[in-house]
């Protein structure tokens, strides 16, 4: 459909939408729509799992069919995925591991993390036909509009996923660049996409791949061993400093890469993922970012967030100040809080954090 035609169609739909909205409302619409098709919704992006296959010993690729509310993505981006586990919606970010496809389906590759709620659920419990909630795609890592020159991709563990999307994108364009991928994994069994990467390397002269194993011996020609370091890097990619570098992996890995290369290379893009902190400090201050108003302030740990925000000159909505009326509740996007009544520590993003009875235990991002 052309853009004007789509606009016309959406204008024609509008009175009907208003009628439906008045008669049943979005919540009731979703209830009945889900009886007809599990991923139909009035306004929420949902996706049905249409296929799943094992990608390595502990990783699974899920192919998802999103509904019409999904806005699309760029290779290299990630998205929030939510699933309900024991009655509670759990949300985590995953990279989209494929490029945008003509059939609109999207793929995520998930590594089962020890103790990881959603990753274990997606890897072991989730079945074809199940429905997941999607957030909009986000993330800055992207290829230039017209890629060229020489590139170096550095991936560690599940950091391969966004880089895989970029590699597939480049391969789809006939590999217009000279690209080397160094991919660290603990063992051969944990390497994802090995066959496809080898096939692409054989097809495209400009693409080279090296699998770097940290807890296993290298056997194949394209395998080597050891943790990342200056010597290893210059041995494997002598012209590393002349390349545009893309790195993705755990925080420590990305920090090392940044120290080694960021200042010297023509272009450096990196994404780090870090598991939530498990050690909770009791004293000192944390940074609280208020996402809606774009402010960042420093507040003491252990104090009620409501009191702390008010002390900083803010006036968040509040009521009973004892945790019952829910007036001060606001969304928490990330960070760890402690309930002052129960001492229960919450690492998860939540939709309603009661500021009056919660204290910050780590840096926080709040929907204020």
């Amino acid at each position: 459909m052309t853009a004007p035609a789509r606009l016309k169609a959406s204008r024609a739909r509008r009175p009907l939408q208003r009628l439906v909205q008045t008669l049943v409302g979005p919540a009731a619409f979703d209830f009945w729509a889900s009886k007809l098709h599990p991923a139909w919704s009035w306004s929420r992006p949902l996706a049905k799992i249409v296929a799943r296959h094992s990608e390595s010993r502990d990783s699974v690729t899920l192919l998802l069919q999103p509904n019409r509310h999904w806005q699309g993505f760029r290779a290299g981006q990630h998205l929030n995925i939510s699933a309900e586990i024991d009655g509670i919606r759990v949300t985590r970010s995953y990279s989209l591991s494929d490029t945008p496809r003509p059939d609109g389906r999207i793929a995520i590759t998930v590594k089962a993390i020890e103790g990881g709620k959603l990753s274990r659920y997606l890897c072991t419990t989730a079945r074809v036909g199940d429905v997941l909630d999607l957030g909009p795609a986000f993330g800055e890592m992207a290829l230039p509009a017209t890629p060229g020159g020489s590139l170096l991709f550095l991936a560690a563990g599940s950091g391969i996923t966004p880089l895989m999307a970029l590699i597939r994108n480049l391969a789809g364009q006939g590999m217009p660049v000279s690209l080397t991928l160094l991919y660290w994994a603990r063992s051969r069994e944990e390497v994802c996409f090995a066959d496809e990467l080898r096939r692409l390397a054989a097809q495209h002269r400009g693409f080279q791949v090296r699998f770097v194993l940290t807890r296993a011996n290298a056997v194949a020609d394209d395998e080597c061993q050891g943790r990342i370091g200056a010597e290893q890097l210059s041995a494997l990619v002598p012209d590393a400093v002349q390349r545009q570098v893309y790195a993705c992996g755990p925080g420590g890995f990305v920090d090392t890469v940044r120290t080694l290369l960021a200042a010297q290379v023509p272009q450096f893009q990196a994404e780090a993922f870090t598991p939530p902190p498990r050690l909770i400090e009791e004293s000192g201050t944390v940074q609280v970012t208020l996402a809606a108003s774009g402010q960042t302030l420093s507040v003491p740990r252990g104090q009620s967030l409501l009191t702390a925000l008010e002390a900083a000159g803010l006036q968040p909505a509040s009521g009973c100040r004892m945790g019952i009326c829910n007036t001060c509740a606001c969304g928490k996007r990330s960070g760890t809080t402690r309930n002052l009544h129960t001492d229960v520590v919450q690492h998860e993003p939540v939709s309603a954090l009661r500021l009056c009875v919660s204290s910050a235990a780590s840096d926080l991002v709040l929907d204020l």
């Binding site: 008045t22 409302g25 009731a28 009945w32 024991d86 009521g319 019952i324 509740a329 129960t342 309603a352």
Partner: protein, 387 residues
């Protein structure tokens, strides 16, 4: 009426233990929230949807089918109206009221989000969250702070100053019951202040805008669009919707009035809540609230406000847990010598009607039962009332 039950005076230390036991019960319950509670509230959502669909369908069948087969008209319309009323009662009480308290926020389901849920009633969810969740639940039965004490319309306690206007209250109470959702809708506008010239027209217009929008939405939905779907046979549908809304109004009014206006329910002076401890807060909630002893059907249809005491202790915990918690709450209250106000629906509502009738006429608070009880009362300055 029965004599006021004596509550054992508690020392600050005993009150601390009382609060700690009630807090521990909260923590024990909160720690076990999970799939079972999610399944419960989703079953309620489904019941609301299916009874609503069945009710509206039967109304259409009665209206349209009844035009051709008169035998259908009354049975289908009556059954449709009752099912629609049942759907609205479940939606308002067990679903809307409880979800808007944030009881199911831990599920993080956007359709069950306490801050954004909008219910099927003339009043806005936002006004309710303010007048009910905050004002009523924080300042329960505190005169001058909890608007629900008579809703600025009725005199239910002798501590409220008598005016000749209250002689009309037996009639006003009935009209209020029939139009209850509209009363809830305008409660936060505090029109009395506007009539008295304390609020200017511009401010009132501003505050009325969301209220008017919600009222219009409800009127257009129930009294225009759904009847119009029946075309020329709109009248039975329109009447069915009106009756369903009124039945819901009468039921919610009955349940809510039983929660705080029974004979033993007490009100409190503003001064009594200054510097209130957690134990004193629990005690005030207990003395201001009354339960309904019925069974599972009454629990369901009252949105578990049959456990008004548990609801006031734990307004943010899922209501489907109140029945189980009530066993422990009652045991704790009896160990601390505190009266646990419960009774059948006819008994409790009979006491409410008595209050409405009795306090239409001038009345005075009873003298404190004994000097000792009043001095040792942890709710210093609290004036308990009895009918």
């Amino acid at each position: 009426m029965t004599a006021k039950p004596a509550n054992r005076p508690l020392s600050p230390e005993q009150l601390g233990h009382f609060a700690a036991e009630l807090d521990a019960l909260r923590a024990r319950t909160a720690a076990t929230l999970g799939q079972r509670d999610a399944d419960y509230i989703r079953a309620i959502v489904a019941a609301v949807r299916y009874t609503g669909l069945a009710g509206r369908t039967l109304l259409f069948v009665g209206a349209i089918g009844g035009a051709f087969l008169p035998l259908l008209l009354w049975p289908a319309c009556i059954a449709g109206t009752l099912l629609l009323a049942l759907s609205k009662i479940l939606e308002n009480m067990e679903l809307g009221h409880n979800v808007m308290h944030g009881q199911y926020d831990w599920m993080r389901d956007p359709h069950l989000d306490g801050k954004t849920y909008e219910w099927d009633i003339a009043g806005t969810g936002d006004n309710w969250r303010k007048t009910h969740n905050y004002q009523h639940h924080t300042w329960t039965n505190v005169r001058g702070m909890d608007d629900d004490v008579g809703y600025g319309l009725l005199r239910l306690f002798p501590e409220q100053r008598w005016k000749p206007f209250y002689l009309l209250q037996p009639a006003i109470a009935v009209i209020f019951a029939i139009l209850f959702e509209w009363g809830v809708a305008i409660q936060d506008l505090r029109l009395g202040r506007w009539f008295a010239g304390k609020v200017n027209n511009a401010t009132m217009r501003e505050q009325f805008r969301p209220v008017g929008r919600k009222m219009a939405h409800q009127v257009v939905k129930d009294y225009v669009l759904f009847p119009l779907l029946a075309g020329p046979f709109f009248l039975p549908v329109l009447l069915g919707n009106i009756v369903a809304n009124v039945l819901r109004n009468l039921w919610t009014y009955t349940i809510i009035f039983c929660g705080h206006f029974t004979a033993d329910a007490e009100t409190f002076a503003k001064a009594s809540v200054a510097g209130e401890s957690r134990g004193q807060w629990y005690l005030r909630q207990l003395r201001g609230s009354s339960n309904l002893a019925g069974g599972r059907l009454l629990n369901l249809l009252s949105g578990n406000l049959s456990h008004q005491i548990e609801h006031h202790f734990y307004p943010d915990l899922p209501a489907n847990r109140y029945a189980a918690m009530a066993v422990e709450v009652r045991e704790i209250c009896s160990r601390y010598g505190q009266h646990y106000n419960t009774g059948s629906l006819p008994r409790q509502f009979g006491q409410v009607i008595w209050r409405i009738l009795r306090h239409a006429f001038p009345s005075r608070p009873a003298e404190p039962l004994s000097a000792a009880a009043s001095v040792a009362s942890p709710l210093t300055g609290a004036q308990s009332s009895s009918a």
